[in-house]
């Protein structure tokens, strides 16, 4: 589902974060909200006063006194209760948080110290730390009800320095029962002092999701395009574990990681024994991936043996392993019970052939950008009773 739209902004040149309200609210409830006017809904200065801003798909009949964005390109995706940010100088309307979705994210920076060949969110070397931190602190205050899980992502979140600690502390204060997952390359944790300070935040439910692409330094460094990254990530994972920080290890499956996949999970088992979860993830055809596709692409159908061997390697050892971003029709049936519906709602896509599929309710589907590139073996499965329905959540 759509994340952003554009309109014409007025009365402000900063960023405004607020909760969308489709119905008129009593004045005392207006301050955290942005009023989304229905088509043809009439408004007056008085009916709009007290809101943070006003959004209107069509052109506003008269210019209100509060900040506004009108003449939106799209507005069907905007729902009551969504938290959005409005950019005064561009008219951009970005959805930050939708309570009805399964996966929730806090996007904290576009900067990164790695440059992975298959990055789905290519880094930008622009200092967005202050602005995004301010936006996220406000977002944290507005989120209600508190979600079960929240993922902090970027870019590389640890590049925020103390600002990341500020965000985590705020989350600990406002929603300590929400499980936090931080997607990081783990390199910063190699500094014992950093890992120690991170642990001292004392967030009761926090874990790191850290990618590792090889059991061999050079191969990992090549995938992340950063020399020394393997050493830092492995050391960082150990520092995290030593400080009691829970970790998950993530592997993106592609032509460079498949050949030594079982050796990689063997490395994880022996060197990162403390990892509480290993996620084996399908390649996303977005970001940098299309430009490196020759180097990266292998049809998931063609690596089923390697994947099965690696999954079994971990499973018999009582390591928790999951497969993300794979369609059931491409996976060997023996792997179905490890497949998770991992794709964020707004990114999920099903193909025309999926309509006839009896395993559809249990299938995580495809990334929306997979419409351009996906396995050649996607097909409808006909099963009397898909046996995986319960195991996928």
């Amino acid at each position: 589902m759509r994340l952003t739209t554009m309109g014409i902004a007025g009365n402000f040149d900063t960023s405004i974060v607020g909760i969308l309200a489709t119905e008129s609210l009593p004045p005392e409830q207006r301050s955290p909200t942005i009023r989304l006017l229905a088509p043809n809904e009439t408004s007056t200065d008085e009916s709009l006063s007290g809101y943070r801003a006003v959004l209107c798909h069509d052109a506003l009949k008269s210019v209100p006194s509060v900040p506004y964005v009108h003449r939106l390109r799209e507005s069907d995706h905007l729902k009551d209760g969504d938290i959005v940010v409005l950019e005064g100088n561009t008219g951009l309307v970005r959805s930050l948080y939708r309570p009805y979705e399964l996966h929730h994210h806090l996007f904290v920076t576009e900067r990164c110290n790695s440059n992975c060949l298959m990055c789905s969110q290519p880094p930008k070397d622009r200092d967005d730390v202050e602005a995004l931190t301010e936006r996220n602190l406000e977002l944290i205050n507005l989120i209600a009800p508190h979600p079960e899980y929240l993922t902090i992502t970027g870019g590389e979140p640890t590049l925020l320095g103390d600002h990341l600690f500020k965000l985590i502390s705020q989350l600990k204060l406002t929603m300590p029962e929400t499980e936090l997952h931080i997607l990081t390359n783990g390199r910063t944790f190699a500094w014992p002092e950093y890992a120690r300070r991170f642990a001292e935040l004392g967030h009761p439910k926090i874990s790191l999701g850290v990618p590792l692409y090889a059991d061999f330094a050079g191969a990992h460094d090549h995938v992340v395009q950063a020399r020394g990254a393997f050493d830092q990530t492995v050391a960082g994972l150990h520092q995290a574990a030593r400080n009691g920080i829970r970790v998950e290890v993530r592997v993106v499956l592609h032509k460079l990681t498949i050949p030594r996949l079982t050796k990689l999970v063997d490395y994880i088992y022996h060197n990162l024994t403390f990892a509480e979860h290993v996620a084996l993830m399908g390649l996303e055809y977005t970001g940098y991936t299309p430009r490196n596709i020759e180097e990266l692409w292998i049809d998931p159908y063609d690596y089923q043996d390697e994947l099965e061997e690696a999954v079994e390697y971990l499973a018999v050892r009582n390591m928790t392993v999951s497969i993300y971003n794979h369609q059931l029709c491409v996976l060997k049936p023996s792997l179905w019970r490890y497949a998770r519906k991992s794709i964020s709602d707004w990114k999920t896509l099903y193909l025309p052939e999926c309509e006839q599929c009896s395993a559809l309710p249990a299938c995580g589907g495809l990334f929306q950008w997979a419409v351009k590139k996906h396995s050649d073996h996607i097909h409808a499965i006909s099963l009397p009773q898909p046996s995986v329905a319960e195991t996928c959540s």
Binding site: D221, G228, A235, K263, T273
Partner: protein, 497 residues
């Protein structure tokens, strides 16, 4: 950020040379088996070790990458990650930390059995003479609770401890009270042949959360031959006792152990089948201990280690067959060794540790207050060899036990890392030093590996397991892993006969 991507060579330049990290090796099945300092292994082509020591190995090969990833070599292109290797070694020895966990109380030497292989029992003794006094029990419990270990196991044995049930009833509440005061977890096991068990005794065990470990040597003809008692009904008594104990305590609170005598050697499958018939999910194919009466009666019970290895291999093959048929039963020794070979962890099984588990992992308090380094140590004492008597509860403290001459002498011979024949053995990480065994069988705690039954047994078993690992049959490995990770995995294996 610049959208420029660089090729592999920029990040993984083939290094000019490499450096070796410590490892040991052997030839096996036409390959070389390399084992690193943390017990991780790699099968490599013959000649690899030579090319490593010659520094001729091509660094631009998958083999080189395997060796580097497994901490056999490092080079200047990336960090050797020695901290990680150190953590792995520490993890392997983690079971050593925390102090003595297993405390064996010999509450009486009296027994109504007269087994040939028994080390210690006194059939004819009158009540009291060979029972533990309350004063001795008090001191032994104090000493047990002095152990820094957070979780301690109190193992009560004999003789036949149920003949001294009054002593048991004295020890358990007192041990529980002290454990509570000291904030320790306390696990209690009674090793009994169950011949004299009554419902009252079982109710007491149930109420106190006591587990029972008993002897089952195989089918009736074998068990009764190995374990004579008046009436020739040891087997019938054991089976009846097992069923009654299970009914009262629950299936998982009743374990059985077997001893392999010369008479057992031809009946590996029958012994396994007996355990399956009795619904046990683990069986320990144990060789007879070369101690106590077993040495005196060697002509009746003893055998060469090669014969035991044949027995073990037949037994293991049969156990695997039973598992393939759908019934889950683990061979305990295999389970222990596989955990050492395949996992990043060590095991707490006291007889297979280096530094040896004697004293560090187990202490034995004899009925008379003498403290021994292991059950085998006090069996030697019953044959007038007090080498491993560390002291007495009435005279010593934990500190003097561990710093006395007997303990220090033993500790010198306790690390296979520094024993001739072990220090360069590929299997060192999986094996152990056993100063008590070597003293008993060779008159020398350090021992002579080429003629050591301990070495022969473990070399045989470990090589056999590596054959299975190398073969890597999917179903077999699944079964073996289910033993390693399963419910029954690596608790202390109780050592009673």
């Amino acid at each position: 950020m610049a959208r420029v991507f660089y090729p592999l060579e920029r990040f993984a330049p083939a290094p000019a040379g490499f450096h070796l990290l410590p490892f040991r090796f052997t030839r096996l099945h036409g390959k070389e088996l390399l084992v690193n300092e943390a017990g991780e292994f790699l099968f490599v082509p013959t000649g690899t070790v030579q090319s490593l020591t010659d520094e001729h190995l091509d660094t631009n090969t998958e083999l080189y990458r395997d060796l580097k990833a497994k901490h056999f070599v490092y080079d200047d292109s990336s960090s050797p990650l020695l901290d990680i290797l150190a953590t792995k070694v520490r993890t392997k020895f983690d079971h050593m930390s925390g102090g003595t966990k297993l405390h064996i109380f010999v509450v009486t030497l009296r027994c109504e059995h007269s087994c040939d292989y028994c080390q210690v029992s006194r059939q004819t003794a009158t009540r009291g003479e060979f029972d533990m006094s309350t004063a001795t029990a008090d001191r032994a419990i104090d000493m047990m609770m002095d152990s820094p270990a957070h979780a301690v196991t109190l193992e009560i044995q004999g003789g036949e401890p149920l003949l001294a049930f009054d002593v048991i009833q004295y020890i358990i509440p007192r041990a529980k009270k002290l454990a509570f005061e000291k904030g320790k977890d306390l696990d209690i096991v009674v090793c009994t042949n169950l011949a004299c068990v009554t419902d009252d005794i079982l109710k007491y065990f149930r109420d106190e959360g006591v587990r029972v470990s008993t002897s089952l040597d195989g089918p009736a003809f074998l068990h009764n031959k190995n374990r004579p008692r008046p009436g020739h009904n040891s087997y019938e008594k054991a089976i009846e006792g097992i069923e009654r104990s299970r009914a009262m305590l629950g299936m998982e609170s009743v374990a059985a152990l077997m001893t392999t005598t010369a008479a057992s050697l031809d009946y590996a499958a029958e012994i396994v089948d007996e355990y399956v018939r009795r619904e046990f999910h683990s069986i320990f194919l144990r060789p007879i201990s070369p101690y106590g009466f077993a040495i005196k009666t060697h002509h009746r019970t003893g055998y060469e280690m090669e014969r035991f290895l044949d027995f073990y291999k037949q037994g293991l093959a049969h156990i695997l067959k039973v598992n393939r048929g759908g019934y889950r039963i683990a061979e305990v020794y295999t389970q222990i060794l596989l955990a050492k070979i395949l996992t990043p962890h060590g095991t707490r099984y006291v007889d297979m540790q280096s530094p040896a588990g004697e004293a560090w992992s187990v202490l034995v308090y004899n009925y008379d207050g003498d403290v021994y380094a292991s059950d085998e140590s006090r069996m030697l004492a019953e044959m007038s060899d007090w080498t491993f008597r560390l002291g007495n509860v009435h005279k010593d403290t934990r500190r003097t036990l561990f710093t006395g001459e007997p303990a220090l002498q033993m500790f010198h011979a306790s690390c296979n890392q520094s024993l001739a024949g072990c220090s360069d053995c590929a299997f060192q990480s999986y094996c152990a030093a056993d100063p008590v065994y070597h003293h008993a069988t060779q008159g020398d705690m350090y021992g002579h590996r080429p003629t050591s039954g301990f070495c022969a047994r473990n070399m045989g078993v470990i090589k056999g397991l590596f054959s299975i690992i190398e073969e890597n049959d999917r179903e077999t490995m699944r079964i073996l892993w289910s033993w390693v990770t399963g419910e029954t995995a690596i608790k202390e294996v109780v050592e009673c006969v």
